[in-house]
């Protein structure tokens, strides 16, 4: 799968699940908000965040400051954020 083309329904939903896992699971995510190229998230426990898992889920990079984690996913951030919120409900 080309990680840059993951905007179709199925692949985006799979990517959303993988990102939730990489962020330490649904219970660890306090807030998620799309910026234009990244997901800005706040997590309960920063040590549960797995950067390698996020990168294998298709993230270009991860930037963190304590419990604020930015997952850089490219311009499909808003679609992914919506899919992640759907999964978290």
């Amino acid at each position: 799968m080309d990680p840059d083309s993951g905007t179709s329904g199925a692949t985006s939903a799979a990517k959303a699940l993988a990102i939730i896992e990489g962020l330490g699971g649904a219970g660890n995510i306090l807030e998620i908000e799309p910026c234009i190229t990244r997901l800005r998230t706040e997590v309960r426990d920063g040590t549960l965040v797995n950067e390698a898992a996020l990168k294998s889920a298709g993230a270009h990079g991860v930037s963190r400051r304590g419990t604020i984690v930015q997952v850089i996913v490219g311009p499909e951030a808003d679609v992914l954020a919506q899919d992640i919120e759907d999964q978290l409900e």
Binding site: C35, T37, R38, H60, G61, S63, I72, P75
Partner: protein, 150 residues
Amino acid sequence: MSLVVASPVTGTVVGLEGVSDPVFSTAMVGPGTAVDPARTPGHVCAPVSGTLRKLRPHAFIVVTDDGHGVLVHLGIDTIQLDGSGFDLLAAVGDHVEAGTPIVAWDPAAIAARGLSPICPVIALDANDDLLANRSAHGFVAVGDPLFSWN
């Protein structure tokens, strides 16, 4: 034919290495450059002709008819301003020409709030070796070429 990406603002070319946000300085979303805007109220303009695909007060993406996406980010961490200080002059889905004003702002006001108004201009998902004719660091006027995308 290569795409010429024009400066969205008048200011000083500083390159991505001059940007404090690693997302841009390490080219996580693509290569490009950055322009430190003149500290006078003005417009941030489309860097290429195409469709305005995404528009936030602090950032926008124009996608050319052949699918090249160029991101312009208006300052660093400016999402914190929640749109305050940015006036949108276009709408998502608009077809814009290079040089069309997209957002009106005052870089001096951004700087006065403790944020950097530097504008990264990014060739989304491009390989770095596809960019050529990069503008040297120094003065640039809005509409002047920043780089070409082959």
